[in-house]
Amino acid sequence: MTFLNVSLAAGTAACLIPLIIHLLSRSRLKVIDWGAMHWIESAVETNARRIQWHSLLLLLVRCMIPITLALCLARPVLTVWKSPGSQDRANVVWLVDDSYSMHAPALVDGQASSRTGLEQSLTEIRKIITGMGAGTQHSIFTIGAAPVNITGGGSVDWPAASGFLNSIPGGAGACRMVDSLSAAATANGQANQPRRLIVLVSDFQQSQWEDVLDSTLLTIGERYKSMPIAPQVVLLPMSTQAAGNLSVACMSQETAVIGVGQSIDITTSIRNHSSSVITKLPVAISADHQELSTKFVDIDRQSQTQVSVSCQFDSVGSHVVSFKVADAASIRADDAAHFPVRVVDQIKVLVIADQLSSPAKGAIEEEYLRFALAPFASGRTAGRDLVQVSFLEPSSVSSEALEPFTAVLLGDMTNLNPALADWLRPYVVGGGTLLIFPGDQQQVAWCNSQLGSDNAILPFRFGAPTTVENKIGPANEINLGQRVSRQIYSHPALGLFNERENGDLTSAEFFRWLRLEPLVTTTDSSPKRSATGTMNSASPPTVLVSLDNGDPLITERKIGHGTVIQFACELNDQSSNLVSRPMFLPLIQQLVLVSTFSVAEAHRVETGQDFVVRLSDVARQEINSKTTTAKKNETTKSGRVTFHNAVIVTPTGLRQHLDIIREASADWIKYPAARVPGVYTFEFGSTAASATKVEYLVAANVPDESNLERLPRERLEKIAELLGAEVVSTASEFLQTERQRRNGKEIWPYLLILVVVLLFTELIIQQRQARTTA
């Protein structure tokens, strides 16, 4: 404890005054020679303790009054709350929740105000920043969708910080709290100031925190504590009105790819978070922003309903289907759900197989694949296939020959081309899809050696063949062979088969297959990283379908932008009856289409994730025609160039130029961390003013973000405890706490109250004694 007016503390010596008075009064005694001493002594026995207690208490109170008054005037400051180094300059990392749930009306004194929660939180932050004054550096992160440092990656002083706060529009997707807290730790670690603070300003929705484990929070808290300068963590919850809200979310998570004239069913889920029943809610459905229809639905309280629509498109390209409800009373960001649909004309698939050397076998395989990929053309029937199939012998393949094709299927090959592996690898990394079917021993050995060794792209090595002998058993019983194990398929290409009416994978029987064994990685078997960065990485292999005995049947590995799908079974009727089953056709088509469109590109993402778009040929022509020679040279050197004729328009109307990344003979656009949910329009054309070509990209909101229920106070305190944080309610409380940290706490008001209390106590004791003696 320290004093601001130390000299006045000497006034505590005034406590001697009552003592002196007491002693003086003792010295002026009256002495009486008394006869009835036994009565005096008898009375004193019962009275003495009470008298002594009263006297001592009165003396104590009288001594305390001048002491307390002197201490009060000396303005004592309790330094218990003072933090080490609290006088030093501070760096504050602000984690500002700008998710769209913060657009709910703020609660001020328990009443809903006209300001949103975000506006209220920004006001509070400005008060704090102003209150902390100059000398404090601020790093401001918006944590909606993904943590982003809006102060340019560094920190700024308070006038600049206030300016950055004005640039937060809000309406971002759901927060990733763990990422945000980790980002704050990183930013704090890079600060130069000797004192660090992390302030999390959020509405603390229950949905934001229910997936965050206590162990994770504890780990983050430990990380904070173990930092060279441990930051002080403050949680500033903003009260927003948790009234009823309507939210719309698409059921499907993948981009739909259909052909021209094909129809697609799109289902959306509408949830009523309020406690009242909603009747005849109009749901407006539109395609490419043109209204299609309006449906009316009834939704019970705290429940959801579904709305479906069937669409078909006549033009090739990107389309978007939107569902929108009228919910003017609450948050608007979740009142619409969008679903991108990609309508393709035809995709080109190349089958590399040896047709001539083994006519019978090759012809059969070719027919099966041709039938599966292009059923209309194979059946000589009317209709337009999505896939255009071409066949090449291995000897005819070249690097340039692969480029036009979006997928390559390796069938049975005898005339092996040694350079084929060198061409396939960059093809896959660049976004191509490669399906590998085992052939004879020579081809299997080639695959293992060329595709499964150095820079392997093969998911697994082909092992020894396994055969189920005799299709007909001794008692004329049919030997059924091995079947596919029944399971729920999580892969988007196989999700179709989770419903029996779309085909049953378990109906196929397998009599001969190759065991798939893990790759022997004597050296780094992953493809080398390209010069352009991270897009060239390889993921671990996954088993998509396995047999009843546990042997993998179909496996997958993502390499760069592309995908390699490996079959363990040959495509002929000797090895299995798969090719004769009805689901063979959708199986092969789904594997080719979904792998081609869903893996390489990301047209529909959750907020906070990156859009990845592969430029179409049209767009490539535009870039080639409009980019200057200097830019082309720059592109060649760095693989990156600004595409001035194309912009991406965010849901808030912001237009941003994008960089083109050339990699593995393809051009890519990557839009980092789509923050705001909604439709992002990628426009390019001859002039910026009259963009003609459009790609629709959709950032979907997380449905839970629309649930405005707040975290219970107990849980909030638990989180604070795990993080080693403290919870403050307002900017004033924060600044008061901050002042206490810096200077300690002035306690003179409490001492003044104590003086008054002591005076009253003295009065009461005296009154009591007077009553006693009266």
């Binding site: 009256k30 002495v31 009486i32 009835a36 001493m37 005096i40 006693t772 003696t773």
Partner: protein, 301 residues
């Protein structure tokens, strides 16, 4: 200390001369006086008639009644004797207290004057009077005599007494018990600052011996209402080493409670033993106290 002649002023002497002390109970006396005797005999005070029985003296027959009723009755008389009184005067240290409202008269002085009044009155009606002064033990003993010249001895005994020493009433009365071989009146003049239980126990012996006991409890008014207000150091008159510093104002209630308890205990004990308790304070006149008591006693009889 006053001389014997100073003990009674003119007014006291006049008032005492008019007083007559009548003992409530019969006492044995050596001389015929104004007090009734239990012995039936030849006195002129008729008591009662009773039927004649064989063996009765013939001379005690009431012939006049025989003539009227034709039956034999014996005539009985009360014998009148003189009173044998012992005055016990407390001269312990506590009796030296003289309060602010007693005009400088200490309890001891008041007691001596009261005793002188009694002695003068009793000698004047030809009763035998003795005196005892005591503190923890008997300091002086004057046997009972009825001669008028004996009054001087008594007054001289009172005048020479000095207050001092502690109080031990019970032991003094126990010591005096064998010396009072005949029934009579025992007058105890004291502040009774002793253990009440043992005092009453000792008085019980006297009452069993058919003595009449009269107790003058002498107090100073200060002792009864404790008028002190400030912090005061009280020093014992009996043991000067004993002193107590108290806040008189705060102690008063407890003190008065003790006094009341003492008075209640003493009066209850005296009533039980049929002892006349006469509380008196030093701001009163001894003759006034005496006349009030005797008046009340006469009315009671």
């Amino acid at each position: 200390m006053p001389t014997p002649s100073q003990l009674l002023d003119v007014r006291d002497r006049e008032r005492v001369a008019k007083l007559q002390l009548l003992a409530r109970e019969v006492v044995d006396g050596l001389t015929v006086g104004m007090h009734s005797s239990p012995h039936k005999g030849f006195s002129i005070e008729f008591k009662e008639h009773r039927p004649y029985v064989r063996g009765d003296e013939v001379r005690s027959l009431d012939w006049k009644l025989y003539a009227k009723t034709d039956r034999l009755y014996i005539r009985q008389y009360e014998e009148e004797t003189n009173l044998r009184c012992i005055l016990l005067v407390d001269q312990s240290g506590s009796m030296a207290y003289a309060g602010s409202r007693s005009a400088g008269v200490s309890k001891h002085e008041f007691s001596v004057r009261l005793a002188a009044c009694l002695a003068t009155m009793l000698i004047g009606q030809q009763d035998a009077v003795g005196a005892v002064t005591f503190d923890t033990s008997v300091r002086r003993f004057v046997p009972a005599r009825s001669k008028p010249t004996h009054l001087h001895n008594l007054l001289e005994c009172f005048a020479s007494s000095r207050a001092g020493g502690e109080t031990s009433l019970a032991s003094v009365l126990t010591e005096m018990h064998p010396k009072l071989d005949r029934r009579g009146l025992l007058v105890l003049i004291s502040d009774c600052f002793d253990d009440v239980t043992s005092l009453l126990k000792t008085l019980t012996f006297f009452r069993h011996a058919r003595n009449e006991v009269l107790l003058f409890q002498v107090s100073d008014q200060d002792e009864l209402d404790f008028p002190f207000r400030d912090k005061t150091q009280f020093r014992s008159l009996e043991q000067p080493a004993r002193n107590r510093l108290v806040d008189a104002k705060r102690l008063r209630d407890d003190y008065l409670e003790k006094v009341t308890a003492f008075k209640n205990e003493l009066s209850a004990g005296c009533a039980r033993l049929h002892v006349d308790l006469v509380p008196c304070t030093t701001d009163q006149s001894p003759s006034q106290v005496l006349s009030s008591y005797l008046g009340a006693r006469g009315r009671a009889k």
